[in-house]
């Protein structure tokens, strides 16, 4: 074998593109890692169709990536890594099925009719010709997020099958023991197989609800990573990038779906503020305290540009509206100059589409800023009476903040304490503790200081 693949003429026509500009060794390892990040979903989805079974597909894809580490270091990185990996994985799947007829007898993941013809070898890609491999990524995503699976199963399966994370990595991301996560993934796969959850993109009638589930999973991945304290394990922080990758992937695969646009916009606009979320010592900073000059203007521009498309056409979806609210925050030169009235109006719209008490609480906070703390407090009182937010720490926290602004310090301290009792997050506890100290230390005219 040549030591220098770049110099080798392997006889392939130029039209096929260059082969192996990358140096053997570390260059190819990086390319495999990159291909793992970019192409996992594509390769797995395409292999699943041929394998008829998720476990077999995963094995074959894993093997293909291992084979790539060797082959690419010797022959150079292929022009189309995804195609190379898919072909390799599918070949292995077909071989496995041929060797072991009983594999076919297993309860299969449903695939489209037209299984591969037994006995025929799959054609090698002709030099210069792009493999026409169907893009089954959406099938994979919708299957992972099927409503028959519990939310935490949807999340685990998406990370595993669509993002290619190992069970260990997923366990670390969600701070659960590895065996627990392994069991969760296995159970989910078993359910897909036993209950026969079909491997397909939902029809038009079911699409809105099914898509909402997918977007919720991606959003959950984002918030899990986003709220992970700085210095936490790398996988957890990496969830933010994964979520953004997924949102972008969905946008490319479903460019006309406005809620997909809405989610991507929301993530971009939220993530634009990431550098200012906490100060150097890890202390959480409120929106009011964040140094807006350090917000990522490119992400804000990209996110804002997506908002009109997300809102277009009749009653908007909840991700589009959330994105619009985030855009208003991102564009305001300061907290004080934020268009709170407009934000309240957007929350009115959001409540119509998403009548959740959490949304109502956020609206109350915006209302307080638009019309004064008393108005907000009245809304919060209603939510307290409602009872659904009894364990939701942001309710007493918001109440405390309004009380503080009204100078009702003792009531504020009580509410801050209630919030403290509901949270285990260190950064939040620190923040609440500080507020309590401030409220008690503050001298009041005419009152004895506490």
């Amino acid at each position: 074998m040549d030591a220098n693949p770049a110099a080798r003429d392997d006889g392939r026509p130029r039209a096929g593109g260059h082969r192996g500009r990358a140096q053997p060794g570390t260059g190819s390892a990086a390319a495999v890692a990159d291909a793992h990040r970019r192409e996992w979903a594509f390769v797995l989805a395409a292999t699943a169709r041929v394998a008829g079974d998720i476990d077999l597909a995963e094995e074959c894809v894993q093997d293909a990536y291992v084979a790539a580490l060797d082959a690419w270091s010797r022959q150079g990185v292929p022009r189309n890594p995804g195609a190379w990996l898919t072909t390799a994985a599918r070949r292995r799947a077909i071989d496995a099925l041929r060797r072991d007829k009983t594999l076919r007898g297993k309860l299969p993941l449903l695939i489209e009719p037209a299984p591969p013809v037994a006995g025929s070898a799959p054609p090698a890609p002709a030099p210069g010709e792009d493999d026409v491999i169907p893009d089954d990524r959406l099938r994979l995503v919708f299957t992972c997020c099927h409503p028959a699976l519990a939310r935490e199963a949807q999340v685990a399966l998406t990370l595993r099958l669509v993002c290619g994370l190992t069970t260990t990595e997923i366990a670390q991301a969600f701070l659960v023991p590895e065996p627990t996560m392994a069991a969760r993934v296995t159970r989910a796969k078993k359910k897909i197989s036993a209950a026969r959850i079909a491997y397909r993109v939902p029809g038009l009638a079911e699409l809105p609800d099914r898509l909402d589930a997918v977007l919720t999973v991606v959003h959950l991945l984002y918030t899990t990573g986003h709220t992970a304290p700085a210095g936490e394990n790398v996988v957890r922080a990496d969830l933010v990038e994964r979520a953004l990758d997924l949102a972008r992937m969905l946008q490319s695969l479903m460019p006309d779906e406005r809620e997909v646009r809405g989610l991507l916009a929301l993530l971009l606009l939220t993530d634009a503020r990431r550098a200012t979320r906490a100060d150097a010592s890890g202390r959480l900073l409120l929106l009011a305290e964040q140094d807006r000059s350090r917000w990522n203007r490119d992400m804000i521009a990209e996110g804002t540009a997506l908002v009109p498309g997300a809102l277009r056409g009749g009653c908007p979806g909840r991700f589009g509206v959330q994105a619009a609210i985030a855009a208003l925050h991102a564009e305001a030169p300061s907290y004080a100059e934020t268009d709170w009235r407009q934000i309240v109006k957007l929350y009115d719209v959001l409540l119509e589409v998403w009548p959740s008490p959490v949304v109502a609480l956020n609206r109350a906070v915006a209302l307080a800023l638009a019309e004064g703390p008393e108005t907000g407090l009245a809304q919060i009182q209603e939510l307290e009476d409602d009872g659904r937010l009894a364990d939701y720490r942001y309710l007493p926290a918001a109440k405390a903040d309004l009380l503080r602004r009204l100078g009702r310090d003792e009531d504020a301290v009580q509410a801050y304490r209630a919030a403290l009792a509901l949270t285990e997050n260190d950064a939040e506890r620190e923040f609440l503790g500080r507020r309590i100290a401030e409220a008690r230390g503050q001298p009041k005219p005419g009152h004895a200081s506490g």
Binding site: G105, L110, A148, A194, A195, R196, I197, E206
Partner: protein, 115 residues
């Protein structure tokens, strides 16, 4: 096509306190459901209403007791065995099952492989 069992769970109190026309409505709904299964491309293999839990007898090991296996607010009141292409198809059909005082569970039938 695969088989699924649709289990109907309802609060028996609902029927106990219902006005007479409710029973007719429920009967009509179940008759309509039988038709809808075919319209949806599924097959109704079997179906029955069960007599109330007061008529149930439970056996655990050697012990025979009066009453249902578990006392729940919503009790098993009937079932349908259907054929459907996949879970989505089964759920599509199951959503039409009359169960005004509760809901339904959809369970795939176990298929035992030969050998």
């Amino acid at each position: 096509m695969a088989e699924y069992l649709i289990l109907i769970y309802e609060d028996e109190n609902g029927y106990a306190t219902a006005s007479p026309n409710v029973f007719q409505e429920v009967m009509d709904a179940h008759n309509r459901f039988a038709q809808q299964v075919g319209e949806k491309g599924g097959k109704l293999v079997a179906g029955n209403a069960l007599q109330p839990t007061s008529t149930a007898t439970t056996i655990r090991g050697d012990v025979v007791t009066d009453g249902p296996f578990t006392e729940t607010k919503e009790a098993l009141g009937g079932y349908y065995l259907i054929e459907a292409r996949d879970l989505d198809h089964a759920l599509d059909i199951a959503k039409l099952t009359p169960a005004r005082f509760g809901g339904v569970e959809v369970r795939p039938i176990m298929v035992f492989q030969e050998g």
